[in-house]
Symmetry: C2
Subunit: 420 residues, 2 copies
């Protein structure tokens, strides 16, 4: 078994050519998520714990998100896949090859059980987070696909249509999703590719999205990054340090009615295309009025600093509200939404250019929450109705996922309680 991490330590650069380097198995054990708060960008994030990693984990710089359709009709097949995936995820997040044989086993007759492009790279903060889509629980043509229909959480409702939605079905929905976040895109891509390889014949890739720059902080230790509109994004995001708020707004609880989801969270993903060429020809004053913050500091208009408590009643120089009634920051703010909060960890994307010669760019929106019916849905309804930003953005994909609680150890697997 070749350990990418161990090989690095032993050989300095590159990887041991022959098999037989003992794995640092201890990396695979150890619980909790506390390790995520410290360490370097190259370190491993603990896989096992009460919650899945990749939610409150300080947002890594790169994303590879993938949605799968399940093509096997066999429940046992699906369970076996989840077990294999979990084992591979535990290995890869610790910086190992996806399987015990590895990419360079010396077994010439068999395909490697790792594809090799991450050989020599450190764990790079990789997290792998799984979600189950509503379609997995669907009864199709009178058949309960995997015997899960009765187990669908009420909170896993399909999202309603929102005003202005321009959704493409082929990049929306899906039975399963995996969010791979890492500080090295090659490590994130390697992980998704190997999970897809392991799933061959049982799942097929529905869509796949790379993101290159995080657009939210999920820890107070992180500076607020900028989205492709050039503005700081996620200033008021829920963060890892918000203990009680996380209990209230992020983690599903036994009292919510679905026992297998306790400790899990619900994920909404939306691909939001930005019409950046139009945005770029908009004056600075108008951009700032639309967002409700200034561009340099990120301070709410009429305020001095990014993290100033926002006073929405404050007047501007013209006697009107400093922050317009239809400014994005006002409409999205908890104060305007009955106090509901989201934990966002979206990423900037550029997918080449379109037929009109414009960059196909924007935000891949990712938000975790306890119940989308009470959080994302009402907030998005308000934004879809009134946000002046809508002139510059277009929601092109949509999905909702139930992300189960964390895997507690090597005997456990992703979704075990769902199938129990």
């Amino acid at each position: 078994m070749v350990s990418r991490r161990k090989a690095l330590t032993l050989a300095g650069v590159g990887v041991a050519g022959a098999a037989g380097v003992a794995a640092a198995a201890s990396v695979l054990s150890g619980g909790g998520e506390s390790a995520t708060a410290s360490g370097t960008a190259a370190d491993a994030i603990t896989f096992y714990g009460e919650h899945q990693a990749g939610i409150v984990t300080p947002a890594q710089d790169r994303l590879h998100f993938v949605a799968f359709d399940v093509i096997t009709k066999d429940r046992a097949d699906l369970i076996e896949l989840l077990q294999k995936w979990t084992a591979a995820a535990a290995r890869m997040t610790a910086g190992h090859d996806a399987g015990v044989i590895g990419a360079v086993s010396g077994i010439a007759e068999a395909p490697p059980d790792d594809t090799g492009e991450a050989l020599g790279l450190p764990p790079s903060g990789l997290t792998l987070t799984i979600g189950f889509g509503p379609s997995l629980f669907r009864t199709a043509d009178g058949v309960d696909r995997f015997g899960l229909a009765a187990r669908r959480p009420a909170a896993l409702d399909e999202l309603p249509a929102f005003r202005g939605d321009a959704l493409k079905p082929e990049i929306s929905g899906g039975d399963l999703c995996i969010q791979a976040c890492a500080n090295d895109p090659q490590v994130a891509v390697h992980a998704i590719r190997n999970l897809a390889r392991i799933g061959f014949g049982k799942v097929t890739m529905r869509y796949s999205q790379l993101g290159f720059g995080r657009t939210s902080s999920t820890s107070r230790a992180q500076a607020t990054p900028r989205n492709l509109m050039g503005f700081k994004d996620g200033t008021n995001n829920l963060k890892a340090e918000d203990g009680d708020l996380l209990t209230e707004h992020l983690w599903a609880a036994p009292a919510d009615g679905t026992q297998w989801m306790a400790g899990g969270s619900y994920l909404v993903t939306r691909k939001i295309r930005m019409v950046i060429e139009t945005w770029d020809r908009t004056s600075l004053g108008e951009q700032e009025a639309i967002i409700g913050r200034n561009k340099g500091e990120g301070a709410p208009l009429g305020h001095a600093k990014e993290f100033d408590q926002i006073d929405f009643a404050r007047k501007g120089a013209d006697g009107g509200p400093a922050i317009a009634m239809d400014a994005h920051v006002r409409l999205a703010h908890p104060e305007q939404n009955g106090g509901v909060r989201l934990l966002r960890r979206g990423y900037n994307f550029v997918d080449g250019s379109d037929a009109l010669g414009r960059l196909d760019a924007g935000l891949f929106f990712i938000a975790y929450q306890r119940d989308p019916r009470k959080q994302f849905v009402p907030v998005q309804r308000g934004l879809a109705k009134s946000d002046t930003l809508n002139e510059y953005i277009r929601h092109e994909s949509s999905a909702v996922w139930a992300c189960p609680p964390g895997v507690t150890g090597p005997q456990d697997f992703w979704g075990r309680a769902l199938f129990a």
Copy 2:
């Protein structure tokens, strides 16, 4: 004028909210390329010099490559654009905003002359490298588009068709290209986006490609990276330290017949899709035989170490050649190609997934050379004819570019000698 770099230095984190921070103009001067060999991943690469940066510069980790079509028909317009682009490139590679007003000037009535998403980010090793495509020199309907027909270098021939080519015209060719390389993708994307913004109405984006992992080393100080087949790539690449070889194989010379190209280089770009799902089901032994190297160490088959001088006559255990006659490393090797060399600096890409549920992934091939007719073309002819790797790859795009010499100072601009 807001300097991203200066703001960082002064404020630690974030950016000065108001205008008026003096630019570190000294960063913009200074010649040569020697600064590229040292420094950290966040430092600036010198823009001015005899050759364009981004060729022998140690390959940065991320790519945003874009091809433009020129839509203005006016030669003066095109020259003005090249001047504006050069000025913006000098600024951005030094870590400044694209224009002197900047993203957060405080001039509320005008669109910012920088889009802002790189505010607070360091220069990140950004290089911007321009190339001119054959179509820029074309006579269309009896009209010499920009009066350049007589100035087309002979070496800038359109590439011939190669066996197995599956080219998509919409992502091939182009009048102008810009290669942005940086250690932070947000910085590379920001640069391309701002050049496109400056070119609005004069050029339109033909295609745009992000790459996330360099697949070649261009300096002996860099470890050899891995491509998405999991193999080390570019071991025998031309490198910055290869002084005489660069003169012979990389830089166009006055003796080549096109004076305005002296000190420049010719660039071939090819998007090479990998059928990675099929590759991943191929045995380790077969993968290694196809490449001609082992996967772990990257050593030529029958040899011990990656950089061992390859003995193509060496026999394997079965008495046949250790490196097969149709192995990739043999067919691509200078020894099998009359000694010709290329300087490659390609990148891995993943562009989501295709309609069959497979990752749309591969290598965006980038190779610089003195004359493609004598270098890329004969090598690729040999590969296209015999390489067993062809079963797993597909060339989907192709372009050739004349990259002029470096910009010598603020009075100079990209392509000045071409239009003189």
